[in-house]
Amino acid sequence: MEQSQLEEVKSAALAQVMAAEDESALRDAEVALLGKKGTVSLLSRGISQVPPKERGAFGRAVNDVKKAVVEALTHAREGLREAAIQSELDDRSFDVTLPGIRPTGGTMHPLSQVQERLEETFIAMGYHVLDYLEVEDEFHNFEALNIPADHPARDMHDTFWTKDRLLLRTHTSPGQIRAMRTLEPPFRAVFPGKVFRYEAIDASHEHTFHQLEGLMIDRHVSVAHLNSSMQIMLSQIFGQELTIRLRPGYFPFVEPGFECDVQCMICGGAGCRVCKHSGWVEFLGCGLVHPNVLRSAGLDPDEWQGWAFGLGLSRLVMMQYGIDDIRHIMGGDLRFLRQFA
């Protein structure tokens, strides 16, 4: 075979490679040229017709042709890949605004979310977190809390009674008695949970709602301590430094008793619709534990003192999310629940 023939094969092969417009054409060319019966592969067979002393040169020439073809293929591939990348980069048809496809996920009830966050805050501040019974007896719900039978304060606690004269706790405060009887003082504890009031429901009233009660028992407890604790606690709950104020409030199980107001976070105290233009939002009830309560829980009021507070979890949840109808909380409606993923 003449050198010119080799050149001819080579230029034909390179032309074939160059002509390939995509990867599959390129693969066809590769098979046609370098496959077992490919035109370039077959060149080596011609060596038998070459005189022995020229065989070395012929072999080298054939290899050069092969090498040139392989290089051309590699180059063509790179070109194609580059073109493909460029084409993807230039593509403007990809729609990133199509809606996400979510894994099937559920939701946690907004009340659980708020409650858990509060519990975390209290755990971090060294509080026990406890959970007490919902069906209670008169002793724990009333008598031990300094609300004897026929006390007018019972009017504030419209009560669900069972046929066998037990009751559904009207507040989380029975937990105070149970905590004092089981925990070794000094201690701090909170107990969130469901409470029940015998009243008709509407957008702002529910017979079943949630509270969170807190109790601290120590050897020396003052109003100043309570003031500080409420300020720290409420700032933690809302995640910002808050101004609070205490004013007289009546709860038979504390003495003195307070309503604790938080300076309105909407207007900063200047007065707005949310705070009814007072600059303050009533947030919880609290006070120093009444000596009668300490006694009924088996603690000596000369030795131990305490403060307690109770806040409305359901109300907090409604405030936080701007929920205008309390019935949603216990309503089980997915259209409501899905909003709190």
Binding site: E134, F160, R165, R247, E255
Partner: protein, 810 residues
């Protein structure tokens, strides 16, 4: 309760003070005000006019042509109020053209039926003063030609006191008590009550109190020559401002004294009281007889019980003590002789009777706070003094007949001044304590040991101030709680125990919401009765309520599922594939009067648009298995309950498509939950569209009561495993769990590391095919095919012998 600023000014000169600012101070230092309302504003243009003549308007039955004298001249008005017809000579109020009423109505000159009308005669409601709109407002004792606010003190500021905030303060249930606090807050002086009335000497009234515990004090006196007529306008204005409808001078004054001093009173027309031979009225205070009844002022016949306390004359009950008078002896327009009662009744008695009868009155609300037994005498004099001012001929002809138990002496409290500073957390001087308490009416004496001897005034001594802490509150609130600098409490050194139960509940919640994709709901502690009834469930075994908001909530829930089914059904109107769960307490009665078991349970429900119930069941079972993993893998096992009569007795559970979760608690096999499809009969009544329903419920408290062992790491295998798949044909009543157990048992080799089901097909004719994926591995070398085959063959032989299984492939 409503408190009038004008009224307060009768007791303390508040001139120059802003009622809103003083109200804020009251909220901060005494008790919460729910609102502060300005009333009677912008009425300067309204004038008093005398009605000179009234003529019917031809062709308009309801209209009258009225000529009024407005102080300067006459003007003509067309008026539609019926009461104008008989009002000739009376003084009315005119809204002249140009005036704007509080409701926004602008008065203009008008022509009605061709008659010019120069203004409008107004009702109280139109002036925003009360709800009274039966007719135009007719005044008494007022001259025509005056601006209304000049004629009558209609302009006032009313405080709305939160009744709950003064539950413990009987002294604040009247203006005088509020004025006492306001005087302290504003540093002005409280005027003493007016002097006493001159009493008579006729022995025409006797009082006998049979139970001095339930009626600690009863006073009565007889007033003659009373002229019953409308009250003067100043009195009517005060009553209206505080939400009380004026009726007549005598009745109004009983209300006035109640709203002033806080002690309810009652006036009887003596014509309807029996007298004895000596012309004496014999009042007896006694317990009711359960055969008795009384018709109260509101016209209702009240059946009585022996717990009720009655005021009786010598023949019959005439009043329900402390709650309401009898209808017969009420004051009428022609009453001239009045028996006045001022008494103190036991709070419990009044409370019980009023609660039982559902009869809450201004009177009962006060008596149930336990009133000051010194008050009735003051109230009786106060009434008579005021009565004689507006009805000068009225004469008290008897002494104040006064029956009482020994009135309590002032209660002394020994107060350690240091304790005040210690409890409040701020230094308070002895002088400051003494001064503050004295201003409030306490009598304070210094003792040689440094203590203060504090005598509680009678109006604070009944249910309010009794112990040192109560005094500390008095001082604290007047110091102002905002003047007590916050002080961090000492740190509790002991770290609290981690709330394990809470943390696990949280794990469960996270898993069920975000792992299993269910939505958390919260439902009532009650069971929704209509759901139970529709399910055909027997409601017994559930705690029964004595009082219910509605008959639908008459029992506590024993299971979470019925409430969840209720939610599922509601949501199925909008969605066909979803899951719900709840974590909450259920109630299992133990014995009457004993607190029930109240375990925290987790219940879940899957609603899936599928007919493949076995697949749905498996999906839910997977959810529960995942839940157990999230709870630290307690040793809970599932036991099939097919064909067995076990603990699943609720009508909504599916007897043959359900299973129990079992755990060994203290060596006892204990049911800790169940998983089930809906009973086919329940399926027919629960409408979830084309979706099927499966549910589970587990007792978290029980499960978490058994600590699950710590999880151990297993070394990773050094040698590759061999796998082998087998399929068997078995009877379709053979459970896959039995087949699996037989495979493992037949293999009898520890080299069989796992045996997992991957196929379960029903072949018909009572047969099914079950396929398992077997994994074999040695820890010390590679297994040969021969070894694997040997083990598999042993299993196959065992299955064939024990379950009649036929190898289909492998």
């Amino acid at each position: 309760m409503f408190i009038s600023w004008n009224w307060l000014n009768r007791h303390v000169d508040l001139s120059g003070l802003d009622p809103h600012e003083v109200g804020q101070l009251f909220t901060l230092k005494v008790a919460e005000l729910d609102g502060i309302h300005d009333i009677g504003e912008g009425l300067e243009a309204i004038r008093t006019v005398r009605i000179e003549s009234v003529e019917p308007v031809e062709g308009a039955k309801k209209l009258s042509r009225v000529v009024v004298f407005d102080g300067e001249g006459e003007r003509q008005i067309v008026c539609g109020a019926p009461n104008v017809r008989a009002a000739q000579g009376r003084v009315a109020v005119l809204a002249p053209p140009g005036a704007t009423l509080p409701n926004g109505l602008e008065i203009r000159e008008a022509e009605i039926r061709g008659i010019a009308s120069a203004g409008m005669l107004a009702s109280q409601k139109e002036l925003g003063l009360s709800d009274e709109h039966a007719g135009i407002w007719l005044l008494n004792g007022i001259e025509p030609g005056m601006s209304l606010p000049d004629a009558i003190p209609v302009q006032d500021v009313v405080w709305e006191v939160d009744n709950k905030a003064i539950t413990h303060r009987p002294d604040l249930w009247g203006h005088y008590g509020i004025a006492r606090e306001v005087a302290v807050l504003t540093e002005r002086s409280l005027r003493p009550l007016e002097p006493r009335v001159t009493l008579g000497h006729e022995e025409r009234v006797t009082v006998s109190v049979q139970d001095l515990v339930r009626c600690p004090r009863y006073t009565a006196l007889l007033i003659e020559d009373v002229d019953v007529k409308p009250s003067p306008e100043w009195l009517q204005a005060l009553l209206r401002a505080t939400g009380v409808r004026p009726i007549s001078n005598v009745v109004d004054l009983t209300n006035f004294v109640m709203l002033d001093l806080g002690n309810p009173m009652h006036a009887f027309d003596t014509r309807y009281l029996a007298t004895n031979g000596a012309d004496q009225i014999e009042i007896t205070v006694r317990a009711a007889d359960s055969a008795e009844s009384i018709t109260t002022l509101d016209g209702v016949i009240r059946d009585l019980y022996d717990e009720d306390l009655l005021i009786c004359d010598s023949e019959k009950p005439v009043a329900l003590a402390g709650i309401m008078g009898g209808a017969d002896s009420e004051i009428r327009s022609d009453t001239t002789s009045v028996l006045l009662e001022a008494a103190t009744f036991q709070s419990r008695t009044v409370r019980r009777t009023s609660a039982r009868l559902g009869l809450r009155t201004d009177s009962s609300a006060r008596f149930e706070k336990t009133l000051d037994p010194y008050l009735p005498e003051k109230a009786a004099h106060h009434f008579c003094v005021e009565l004689q001012k507006i009805c000068p001929k009225a004469t008290v002809v008897t002494p104040l007949v006064d029956i009482s138990s020994a009135l309590p002496a002032p209660k002394p409290i020994h107060l350690d001044p240091k304790l005040v500073s210690s409890r409040l957390g701020v230094d308070i001087s002895v002088g400051h304590i003494r001064e503050t308490l004295t201003k409030l009416g306490f009598v304070v004496q210094d003792r040689s040991d440094g203590y203060l001897l504090v005598q509680v005034p009678s109006w604070r001594a009944t249910k309010d101030v009794a112990i040192v802490e109560d005094l500390i509150e008095e001082i604290g609130r007047l110091v102002g709680y905002s003047n007590i600098p916050p002080q961090a409490p000492s740190v509790v050194v002991k770290a609290p125990e981690l709330p394990i139960a809470k943390l696990q509940e949280r794990q469960a919640r996270r898993y069920l919401s975000f792992g299993a994709g269910l939505h958390e709901v919260m439902s009532y502690g009650f069971t929704w009765r209509p759901m139970l009834d529709r399910l055909g469930a027997d409601p017994s075994g559930r705690i029964e309520m004595d009082n219910t908001i509605s008959a639908e909530l008459d029992r506590m829930r024993r299971f979470l599922i019925p409430n969840l089914l209720n939610f599922a059904e509601k949501n199925a109107r909008y969605e066909s594939d979803f899951g719900l769960y709840e974590i909450g307490r259920v109630f299992q009665p133990i014995a009457p009067g004993v607190l029930p078991e109240q375990p925290r349970c987790a219940g879940g429900i899957l609603v899936r648009r599928t007919d493949d119930h076995e697949r749905l069941f498996r999906e839910l079972r997977g959810v529960v298995e995942g839940l157990m993993d999230a709870l630290g893998r307690p040793a809970v096992r599932l036991e099939s309950t097919r064909g067995e009569d076990i603990g699943l007795r609720e009508a909504w559970m599916h007897p043959s498509r359900s299973a129990q979760f079992i755990m060994d608690v203290a060596g006892t096999r204990t049911e800790v939950g169940f998983i089930s499809l809906l009973h086919p009969r329940a399926r027919d009544v629960i409408d979830t569209g084309k979706s099927s329903v499966a549910f589970f419920e587990v007792d978290l408290d029980l499960i978490l009561s058994i600590a699950s062992g710590p999880q151990k790491y297993e070394p990773l295998p050094k040698y590759p495993a061999s796998t082998f798949d087998v399929s068997f044909e078995v009877s379709d009543t053979t459970s896959s769990a039995d087949v699996q157990a037989a495979i493992v048992e037949g293999a009898g080799s520890e080299l069989l590391r796992a045996c997992e089901l991957f196929g379960n097909y029903y072949l018909g004719d009572g047969k099914k095919s079950v396929s398992f994926h077997l994994t074999f591995r040695r820890d010390d070398g590679t297994l040969t095919d021969e070894q694997v085959h040997d083990i598999v063959n042993r299993s196959v032989a065992h299955l064939s012998a024990s379950l009649g299984a036929v190898l289909r492939g492998g």
